[in-house]
Symmetry: C2
Subunit: 338 residues, 2 copies
Amino acid sequence: MPIANSVVAFSLAPALASPTQRFNPRLATSSFTSPQLQRSPDRARSTQRRAVLVTIQMAVDLAVMVNGVPGNMAAATAEEVVRRGLVLADEALTGPGVANSHFEAGGSKVSLSTPEDHTACLKRMKDKYPRLIVVDYTHPSAANPNVENYAKAGLSFVIGTTGGNVDDMKKAVDKSSDVYAVIAPNMGKQIVAFQAMMDMMANEFPGAFKGYKITVKESHQATKADTSGTAKAVVNSFSRLGLDFDVEDIEKVREASRSMREMQVPEEYITAGHAFHTYHLTSPDGSVNFEFQHNVCGRGVYAAGTVDAVQFLDKQKEKGDSTRLFNMIDILRIGGMS
Amino acid sequence: MPIANSVVAFSLAPALASPTQRFNPRLATSSFTSPQLQRSPDRARSTQRRAVLVTIQMAVDLAVMVNGVPGNMAAATAEEVVRRGLVLADEALTGPGVANSHFEAGGSKVSLSTPEDHTACLKRMKDKYPRLIVVDYTHPSAANPNVENYAKAGLSFVIGTTGGNVDDMKKAVDKSSDVYAVIAPNMGKQIVAFQAMMDMMANEFPGAFKGYKITVKESHQATKADTSGTAKAVVNSFSRLGLDFDVEDIEKVREASRSMREMQVPEEYITAGHAFHTYHLTSPDGSVNFEFQHNVCGRGVYAAGTVDAVQFLDKQKEKGDSTRLFNMIDILRIGGMS
């Protein structure tokens, strides 16, 4: 349990260890004395030497360790953490070859921990921030070793990094009884909702668009070589809706001029990062047309979704939810019900 | 059960009356002799007087009576019936004050029956077409009396006419044990699927678009005075998704020039009938935009959906489905699973 580092609480821990009596420092409203101290005056006196008056902090703030800064997504997430008034942990894991030793987001300074220091760094952060959630936007090759380390350290985490082995991540969560995690390939809540909606429609009404023709066009910054994963997922739904279309038929737009002219991407996001998608469906006789667009500029929506995931995870952990592994659809679903 | 009018089948009926042994003339592949005839030579001889050799038609064609011609939707449906190679019943109910006595669709002639003849006309059609489904695109004021008549005549029906009392229609179906019906305010299958999809998203992910701004614009022919019912239904879903929007805020476009310029309605459908809808969603910081469009020219999609409903109803009737009342969502759902 996250006990505030600044208060001496170890002498109380055994009395509060039963699961039905989980101690929650965030809910503590005033100082209190151990029931053991009240029951046994002799024992109490000796304990009092170590903890005469145990004062519990009114609330322990949620802190977020954002690993992967100064990378783009990690940086955007760190800024969102500060913007929402959460505590940004003052150290972060970074990969080999990162020259910077510090990073700053919204006035909060973060020291960067290089690979040989990672294990020690996680321990320091866990000790310093009793209510800590880790965010990982590192490198695909680092995601799995990082997850193993988070789990070993007993730290709950949100994985935004894509490309790792998700099954292995899930196993690591299963093995660590107090670790909660969100693993999601796309952190943009509304984009995920749209994608899930198309999937639901395909499940509910298979073949509803049989005979329709479809064109799919996506524009991203020129540095993105592969086809949009979201477009691929949506096209999969369309196939089940009866449309004859293959992911190979998705039109990738990577030229600035076409992105601006055909997809209306604002010039400032041509290289800064954008994700524009247009799906156009036409009935066999041409009399019916559907168009679905989801157009994202920059990384704000993903950073916001990531911090939503952090806050969600923190809540589930506090509740002691028996489910410990989530994706963004769980968050959309459970989030809406709370 | 629909037994072909042209073949003498009454002597076999009792032997085939058990529900597990329902006689299906459409599945009959050749002439056959009653098992009773084979077992009891004496009885067989007397029966043979009435039915020496019972030949079953290879198939009884599905016939569709389209009431409401020469009205636009009824006319489009009659044409779709012929286009699909189904039999168009040669009589149809029409309202008072319709001057025409005949209507023609795709080369099939239809005599129009005026109100005083309606009951007799339904009986004639039922006798003439053993496998008949009725479509109703009449007048809102006629829909309920018509439904009562269909139910009394034991005719299954599809109601495309909107504005009647749906509860009363449902009661009429409940009372008539062999009558199946589809009652749907919108026959456009794909439009209904889109509407249902938004509804599902709102159920699954309430509040997922909280803070987003939305604009809704719909264009229809100038003769349509009220706001699009589909737009209203979709806006209701958006409200549950967390958007602050009222049906009053839907922008109605009814001027030809704006319809063409702002919504890209083709000129030939400005007065001929169109239903164009654009929903635009913007995130609080403006970085994320969603757009959903469904644009319909003419009545083809509704006529196609109506005939889909007819064919669906015919199948359910043949199966003897215990559910007898359906809407378009049922058709999308069950239709896809078959």
